[in-house]
């Protein structure tokens, strides 16, 4: 179904004409988002998790933690790594196998948004078990389950929401042998605020926020920006072969600063739910 990836010329014309008239297929305004639902804490085996439905897009993020060696140049810091699977479950266009450039790019955009924002303070003493030897390693794994467009923002939101309900096991350390054992009791992962991503698409000369699947396919350029709850830009990424002018970038930054306030609220609300959620009640 490789042809699926490419928008048909009919679809493209329809989309162009609509946009030219100031309309979107689903009736939204150019800066308007689709409805978003976050269900935190859905995977029992994960230390943190969240499912996000963003329009038709469905994304599940899970966090596993385990003890491991720190990087030599940051011997007292925890480690975070973000991986994204563009699962064939999510679309006939996605093939199985190791992540391709598209999935790698998305994982790295989400990763940088989180890492550079320092929302999860990797140098927090809670993440360091034995300096230089043993620290907490955070694996954030994102599964795209249904591809309805704008995967970057949905993935970033799922990852952030999963981290927001991640819990670390308390530990007991034998001082002499340095043997570490996990206790049953847990505490929340240290966290300083939140970060959220806003993605824009350029179709002809028009810029729209939160592209749906057809818009995603018909776009010539993409711009994603991650903004912290303090309003700082922690990562930007322009994609595709189309281009932006400087003033367009500045407009998108302004729109993103505004929009992310709502997303930060959604994240904080979702982090207030410590009990395991019934994912079944989730409206796929």
């Amino acid at each position: 179904m490789r042809s699926n990836e490419i928008i048909s010329s009919l679809e493209r014309k329809y989309l162009s004409d609509l946009i030219a008239k100031g309309n979107r297929m689903d009736g939204r305004g150019f800066w308007e988002s689709r409805p978003i639902q976050i269900i935190p804490n859905v995977v029992k085996k994960a230390e943190g998790s969240a499912m996000v439905k963003w329009g038709d897009t469905v994304v599940l993020a899970g966090v596993k933690i385990q003890l491991g060696s720190p990087f030599p140049d940051t011997p007292n810091d925890g480690v975070i790594t973000v991986n994204l699977e563009l699962s064939p479950i999510s679309s006939p266009s996605h093939e199985s196998g190791p992540p391709g450039p598209e999935a790698i790019e998305m994982a790295r955009i989400v990763d940088r948004g989180i890492r550079e924002s320092q929302i999860i303070p990797m140098d927090d003493p809670k993440l360091c078990v034995i300096p230089g030897k043993s620290v907490w390693i955070l694996f954030v794994d994102i599964y795209i389950l249904d591809d309805g467009g704008n995967l970057i923002d949905a993935s970033a939101l799922a990852a952030m929401a999963a981290l927001a309900n991640t819990r670390l096991n308390l530990l007991s350390i034998d001082e002499e042998t340095e043997e570490v054992s996990l206790l049953e009791e847990t505490e929340a992962l240290p966290r300083n605020g939140s970060v959220a991503s806003c993605t824009f698409a350029k179709i002809n000369d028009t810029i729209i926020y939160d592209p749906n699947l057809i818009e995603d396919r018909g776009k010539s350029a993409r711009f994603s920006v991650a903004v912290t709850n303090e309003g700082l830009v922690s990562s930007m990424q322009k994609g595709e072969s189309g281009t932006f002018f400087e003033e367009e970038i500045l407009t998108m930054l302004e729109k993103a600063s505004e929009r992310t306030k709502e997303l930060h609220n959604l994240i904080e609300q979702s982090s207030q739910a410590p009990e395991l959620q019934e994912m079944f009640r989730f409206d796929f």
């Binding site: 995977v43 085996k45 064939p88």
Partner: protein
């Protein structure tokens, strides 16, 4: 599947999660949950959470793998990295390759593959949260997904593991019973004909215990089969309910 570290049965003879020896865990099934796939099913079984997407019949690429006389079935069974105790690497492990193979063999049995020469039917199964018995749950879900995709079938696969715990044969092992019990027997049947499409075992069992296990599985599978029937019948009314709910929310 080795040393008993602790008793897996309570003093009243019940199991650690309070179930009777022959009692199933709660199971829910929903079809048509994914937009992009041709068919899909989301199934929960105890703490197992399984999503299954079906594509096809569609043309097979690369073409040299195609069979001129019939469609082939490709199954990809995967554990999500966070679905197990220790984070699993995203690369498939040998267990996942083995299970994909035997799940495909079971699914082959129930499809009219000769109707779709040169084609493929692709079944993608991901275990999002694992709690024992995932291969039986996977085929139970895949059958519903295939029906949801409108693919003609000559039977429905229904699975359930049985096993030996503290010397007793029990139905539907939980994760802990699977790991610390004395034996595990995953079974998948076509309920209407009594044919076994999948049968495996681990652990040390007497021939008598295998026999008892087969009987227990047959009964349990009968119950699960009724749930599958209900899920398929419920599909249309579910859609109506959802539309109603949306209306309610919008008010």
């Amino acid at each position: 599947m080795n040393k008993e570290k602790r008793s897996l049965l309570l003093e009243d003879g019940r199991r650690l999660d309070g179930r009777e020896l022959h009692e199933l865990r709660p199971i829910t099934m929903r079809t048509g949950v994914l937009d992009r796939a041709d068919g899909s099913c989301y199934l929960t079984w105890g703490n197992n959470k399984i999503i299954c997407a079906i594509y096809g019949p569609r043309e097979l690429h690369p073409k040299h793998l195609a069979r001129p006389d019939k469609a082939i079935v490709r199954v990809e069974y995967r554990l999500a990295t966070f679905s197990v105790d220790e984070r699993k690497s995203p690369a498939p492990r040998r267990r996942e390759y083995e299970l994909s193979k035997i799940l495909a063999e079971s699914i082959n049995k129930i499809l009219f593959l000769e109707k779709f020469p040169n084609g493929t039917i692709d079944v993608f199964i991901t275990v999002l949260d694992a709690d024992g018995g995932t291969r039986c749950a996977a085929l139970t879900a895949a059958s519903l997904g295939l029906a949801d995709a409108g693919i003609p079938m000559n039977g429905i696969l229904t699975g359930c593991a049985v096993g030996k715990v503290d010397g007793k044969m029990v139905v539907d092992l939980s994760d802990i019973e699977d790991k610390e019990g004395e034996g595990d027997m995953p079974i998948v049947m076509i309920h209407n004909t009594g044919e076994l499409t999948l049968l495996q075992s681990d652990g040390k069992l007497t021939v008598e215990e295998v026999k008892e296990g087969l009987k227990l599985a047959e009964t349990a599978i009968g119950k699960i089969y009724q749930m599958q029937r209900k899920a398929l019948l419920a599909k249309y009314s579910q859609i109506e309910d959802q539309l109603d709910e949306i209306d309610d929310e919008e008010e």
